[in-house]
C-alpha cells in the first residue's frame, strides 16, 4: 500500500497569524503558532496529527489545505509549492484534497438542500447535470445515507447524518487525500463508532491517503497507523502507533497516554 510517493511535504514551516491592530497590520506583526515543522506524508498512509487545544493542530491543517501562507518554509503538495502559485492554480491542486471540517453543525449552509451542498465541488469541474446527479446518488449510497435526504435541509438531519453528508461532500470529487478535522468530537459514542467504521471502510475501499487531526488518542488509534504529536507548535513525537504506545520518546506523550489510562475504567488486559 505504501508506494513511497510523497503527497504532502512540509519543510521548516513556521506559521502564525497577523495581529490586526489598526495600523500595526501594515507592519508585519505575527503571533507565531507553528515552529519549524518538518513533515512528510506518503501516498496511502493513515496519519493522525494529535494535539490538545492550543497545540497548533488546526493551524497546521490550514497550512496544508492552502488557507494560511506560512511565514517561512515550503509546503509541497504533489511536489508543487502551493503558496508560490496564484489562488486559481492553487485551488486546482487543493481540489485533490477532500476536507471534512470540524463542526458538522456549522459546516452546512442551513438554507441549501443536501443535493445542492453535495453537488457544489463538482460545479467548477464542468460536468453536466445528469452526471453530477448520478455521482451525488452514488456518494450518498456509499456513506450509508438514504436517497430521500437529498431533498432535505441540514436542519432536518441529526449530527451523525450531517457528518456523513460532509464526508460525502469531501468524497464526491474523487480526492486522493482525505483530511478530517476532529471527525468525531461533536458526536455521541455510538455515532462516533459508526463514523470511525465508515472512515475505515472508505480507506479500505478507495485507498485514499487519510489524515486525521484530533485531540483524542483513542479515536486516532482507529483512524491512523502513524501518529504525529504536537505540543505548543512543535512536533514532539512521531512514529507508528504501537511504538508510541509502548515506547513514547517524549515526556509529554507519556503524560498524555497516562492521563488517558487514568480516566478509563478498563486498562488493557
Amino acid at each position: 500500500m505504501n508506494s513511497g510517493v510523497e503527497v504532502i511535504k512540509l519543510r521548516n514551516v513556521t506559521a502564525g497569524y497577523k495581529t490586526t491592530l489598526g495600523f500595526k497590520s501594515i507592519f508585519k506583526h505575527y503571533q507565531v503558532v507553528l515552529r519549524n515543522i518538518n513533515l512528510s506524508i506518503t501516498r496511502g498512509e493513515k496519519v493522525a496529527i494529535i494535539g490538545e487545544s492550543g497545540s497548533g493542530k488546526s493551524t497546521l491543517l490550514k497550512v496544508i489545505i492552502g488557507l494560511l501562507k506560512p511565514i517561512k518554509g515550503d509546503v509541497l503538495i504533489y511536489d508543487k509549492q502551493i503558496y508560490k502559485l496564484p489562488w486559481r492554480e492553487r485551488v486546482k491542486i487543493i481540489r485533490k484534497i477532500g476536507y471534512v471540517p470540524q463542526d458538522p453543525y456549522k459546516a452546512l449552509n442551513p438554507l441549501l438542500k443536501i443535493r445542492q451542498i453535495l453537488a457544489e465541488p463538482l460545479e467548477a469541474s464542468g460536468l453536466d447535470d445528469k452526471t453530477i446527479e448520478q455521482r451525488v446518488r452514488e456518494v450518498v449510497r456509499f456513506v450509508g445515507l438514504q436517497r430521500e435526504i437529498l431533498d432535505a435541509t441540514p436542519d432536518e438531519l441529526s449530527g451523525g447524518m450531517r457528518q456523513r453528508v460532509l464526508i460525502a461532500r469531501a468524497l464526491i470529487a474523487d480526492p486522493e487525500i482525505l483530511i478530517l478535522d476532529e471527525p468525531t468530537s461533536a458526536l455521541d459514542v455510538s455515532i462516533q463508532a459508526q463514523i470511525i467504521n465508515l472512515l475505515n471502510d472508505i480507506y479500505n475501499k478507495l485507498g485514499t491517503t487519510m489524515i486525521t487531526v484530533t485531540h483524542d488518542l483513542a479515536v486516532a488509534q482507529y483512524l491512523a497507523d502513524r501518529a504525529i504529536i504536537l505540543k505548543e507548535g512543535t512536533i514532539v513525537d512521531e512514529g507508528s502507533f504501537d511504538q508510541i504506545l509502548s515506547n513514547p520518546r517524549s515526556e509529554y506523550t507519556r503524560k498524555l497516554i497516562l492521563s488517558y489510562y487514568v480516566t478509563t475504567f478498563k486498562t488493557v488486559e
Binding site: 459514542v189 504506545l245 487514568v262
Partner: protein, 321 residues
Amino acid sequence: MVLAIRAENLKIGYLDEEEEQVVWATRGVDLNVEEGESFCLVGESGCGKSTLASAIAGILPPHALTMGKLYIFDQLVIDDSKRNYNGIRGKIVGLIPQNPGTSLNPFLTIEDHFYYVLKDSKNMNKSESRKIAHEYLLKVGLNKDVLEKYPHELSGGMQQRVLIAIALASNVKIVVADEPTSSIDANLRAQILNLVNSLVKEFKVTLFIVTHDLASAGKICDKIAVMYAGRIVEMGPTSIITNKPRHPYTKMLFESIPILGWKRALNPLPGEPPNVIEEITWCSFRERCPLKIEICNKEPPLMLTDENLHFTRCWRFKEVS
C-alpha cells in the same frame, strides 16, 4: 441509609417552537440516590440527562413543564407542576457547571464570587468569606493569589477548580456536576476527576455526575444509570454494569467506545436515538435492538431488578450478556 435524591415518575418537558405541543425531555424517571454515593448518569445527547440534572440542581427554566415527584432529602421539591426549591438550591444542592469559561462573571474577582455565594447561603461578611475561600482553594490545589484574580487570568483547569471550590464552600450535601470535564483537555481531565472524587470522599457529599463519557464514568462512580430517550434503561453498581450489562443499549455503548491500546472492532448498532414527540408506548430501543421480539412493539418493558439492585428495563435482559 438516607436517600439524597428520590424521583418518582418524573417527567420534564418544554413547549415546542410553535407552542402547540409539549416535548418531553424525560419521560418518567424513577431514581434513588443514597447519601454519600457517587452516582453517574450516562447518556447520549438529547436523552434528557442535562434536564434531569438541572431539575435536581434547581435551575430548570421557568417555562419548563413538570410532572411527577422529586424529593431531595425528603423535602418535596417538584410536586407535579409546583416547584419549590427554597432552602435547597445553593444550600443543600450545589452545581459544577459544564463550561467554566462562561460560568464565572468576568467583572468579579474570585474573592467576590465566594463572597456573593456565601453571603446568600450563610450570611457571611467579607472577611469570613475570604477565610473560607482561602481554605477551600487550598483544598482544590490553588494558592492564595487566585483570590484577587479575575476569571480570565486563570486557565481552564484553574477555573474549573475554582468552581468546584465554590460549590463545596457553602457546605452543600449534594453536588451536581454537568459534564464537568467535557471542555477540558485530556491531561487535565484526569486531574479534575481525581480531585472531585477525593473531595467528595473527604466532605462526604453525594455526587451526581452527568456525562456522555462512559469510560470515565466507570472509573469514578459507585453507581451508573444509563439513560435512553428520556428513560433510565439500566441502573446498578458500577462493577456489575461494566462487566455484565443487561440492556442491549449499554452493551452496545461498551462495544463502541474506542479504548487506547486495545484496538478491537467497534460494534455500534445502526441508527440513532428516536426523536418522538408523542407518548412512547413501546420499547424505545426497538428500532435499533438486535433482540427485538413481538412484545417490544406492544409494551414498554418494566424496570426489573435482582438481589444486587441491578435494574434493567428490557424484556430479554437474560439473553443480553
